[in-house]
Amino acid sequence: MNKGIERVLLVVLGLLLAVRVVNEYLGIQTSLLIFDGLWPFTLVAIMVCFYGWLRFYLKRRADEELREQLLEQSQADSSTLFDESSLSPLTMRRTLRQEERYGVPLFCTILATFLGFCAWNLVATIRSPQVPLESPNWLVIIFFLMGESFLFFLLSRYLLGLSRHPGYVLARGPGVYVGLVSMAAAAGGIAALAGHLDFPVADTVVAIVFAVLLGTLTLELVLLLVFTLYSPRRGEAMAEVYHSRIGGLITDPAGWVRNFAHAIDYQFGFNLSETWIYRTLQRMVIPLILSLAGVLYLMSCFVFIQPEEQAVRERFGKPLASGWKLDSGFHLKAPWPIETVRRVPANRILTTTVGYTLEEGEERPEYLLWTQQHFRQGEDPMLLASRPVGANSAEQSSPFGLLLVNVPVEYRITDLHRYLYGFTSPDIIIQRLCRKVLVQELAGRDVNEMLLMERHGLSDSLKETIQVEIDAVGLGVGILFVGLQGIHPPTDVAEAYQSVVASLEEKETAILVAEAYAARLVPTVEAEAETLRLAAETYSANQILQARAEAEQFTYRLGAYRNSPEVYRTEAYLAMLRRTLGGVRKYIIDKPPGSAQVINFDFQEKLNPDIFDLPDLTQEGANSP
């Protein structure tokens, strides 16, 4: 064994320390979690490398000591072959044995404690991350971390390769942990790349992965230590106990593949891994992966634009002079990053809402009542003017009222270029402009007139005004519809408004009842008047006809009378008697001439009793015994 491996480990130690310093600086500057996750791996690698160097050093010194002793022994006189006093105590070998017996468990305990503490500390940091003051320089971080990863990957490969040679097994531990540093740096670089592409959450995700890995390594180390302490081959196993198997799986997958190949050879009974099929497959793995990566890259030449979309085709970030607009369907383009495509939902009718609206995931209520809050989101009333009411209107202190509004505005993208490149968030500026127009329009309208007015005209007017505002800022959007259906008094006063409507109904009801009374009375009275009129006319006509008839009767009778007055008189008299005396009670008194006889008639008994002349039966009954 030479000093080469010790020198390599010292170089690795130096590099690890240097990288640790730079990582610390970048971590302070950027407050990124990936650096909080990286330093435990670096420090553990430093500890393991240093311990590895120490063990190599002790081993070399023990070997040197043994060689020196053997040399001295061979040069000594053979006569003193069994001279006990000539043998040295082999101090270094004893030290090495003591170190393997007590040092390794102690080191493993320290390592496990440190890893556990780092895992816990990282979780605590993830839970309360520091907010960076400014956006980090992602490119510098990506460059540095990828470089770091590449460098330690090479060193790790070297150490792991060395560890497969006899006498260098102890290099596996440093190789695994340096490999872990390489992998962690690569993961950090990918997280930085994601941050650069506006996915800063990748920083937290990678830090969580680091925390889980540190926890797993701690657990593995503790379990291995416990099992080794009670193992019958404690002496051999203890020497490599801190060489993490999980770390080895991550950093040296080829070792596992080799183990797998050996297992197959063992199971089949011949060297399957030496056959041409196995070797061909082994050779094809990397080209296959590269081919797949190439195909995936070439997929960026195909663009599928959805039916509701249109897109802008950019070459080196600039829209093409011609053919920049892509309609829905399939298109071909140069691969990324030469050409890129930006999609816009240009064929879709988009909506923004001014005022209260549904929250995401909130269901529309079945009933929308003025007296109840419609949606979970608080409703902020809008200010309107209020026409003064009453005699002292000039002194009205607050000539305004409040209304709740829910005004959906539908629009469509008309100019892709302006919409895409004009504003960072076109939907927000559209919402603000719509709100501005509505606020300023309502501020000039009377609150009660607003509730009663016909709103179609206002809707059209608002549409035009919003369009003017949007055109003024060059947004490339056409307003299609402004809905004013959701304007009503705030919940607190809605009941008062409803009571007015109820009063109006009561008023109408009272009027209608009165009108019904009038409608019923007047025709009845008119009929009564008509009856009176007709009765009078009948009477009058009757009188005239009767009179005429009597006159004519008189004239005819007079002629008869003139012809024979006495006869007529007698006949008329007798006719009258015939007609009248036939049905009446008659008393004819015949008394002799000159008689002074007085005849008394008692008509009372003879007359038929009338019902009113009957005796009072009740009185009679009461008086009867």
Binding site: G317, L383, F423, G444, Y517, A518, L521, V525, N542, L558
Partner: protein, 300 residues
Amino acid sequence: MKRPGVIVLAILIIILFAIVQFNFIVREGEAVVLTRLGSPVRAVTEAGRYSKLPWPIEDVDRFDSRTQVLETSYEETQTQDGKMVLVGIFAGWRIDDPLVYRSALLGSAKEAESKLDGLIRNEKSAVIGRQPFSSLVNVEAGQLRFDQIEADILVPVRSQAKERYGLDVVTLGIHRLGVPESITEKVFARMRAERQKLADSYEAQGQKESTSIRANADATRDQLINAAKAAAKVTRAEGDAAAMETFKVFSANPEFARLLRGLEGMEEALKKDSTVVMSTDSYPFNLMKGVSDPEELKQP
């Protein structure tokens, strides 16, 4: 050479890395500041591909040069006539000078919005403090001064933002207007009282109109009945008069007329429930006088 593929791949990666290091792309809607050893050299706002020296000699800082929207706090402000009003303002801003923006605001959009918010709020308080409440809310829409207020805020904000921060404020508008919550409660109370007044007024109007309609109907009834009665009286009198005209014919022989009327009157008088007591001295019952045998009468 054992693995030419790996070497080709490595060369390819190195070439790609070199391309990335010697070029940069500016996208539409993006502004880029090129720095050389940390100090800004030039700003690029036109989209396209540009060359640069590799990092760390030259580096690029990228900013979104599209218009961004800032919304100020919904802040309580006092008008000229001492009324409290809540005003919310939004502004659309974009980077006008990327070099100034980078050096003055460290290229931070948050920092830019913070500075602009301060500027706008300052100007807003001053401008609204010069305007009466009626210029913000008025039934006479012609007296509203939103355009003037917005222009008065925008002009100084735009010039200061451009000069100090390299920003251009392209639009600014009042998009929220309200009153503090304590005043809102009072306004609600007044609105409720107004509504109550209106409701009572409607009810009273209903009663009034109802009574009026009923009274009108009753009056119409009385008028119609009375008119009908009067007309009936006249009609009856006219009939009587016409009948009396006819009776003039009786004057041709008054004695005969009296006879006839007497006979008619007597007939009417004796028609019912009468008891007639007559003497055999009167005609024709005198015919009964001197007849002793009733059979005598039967003989012709």
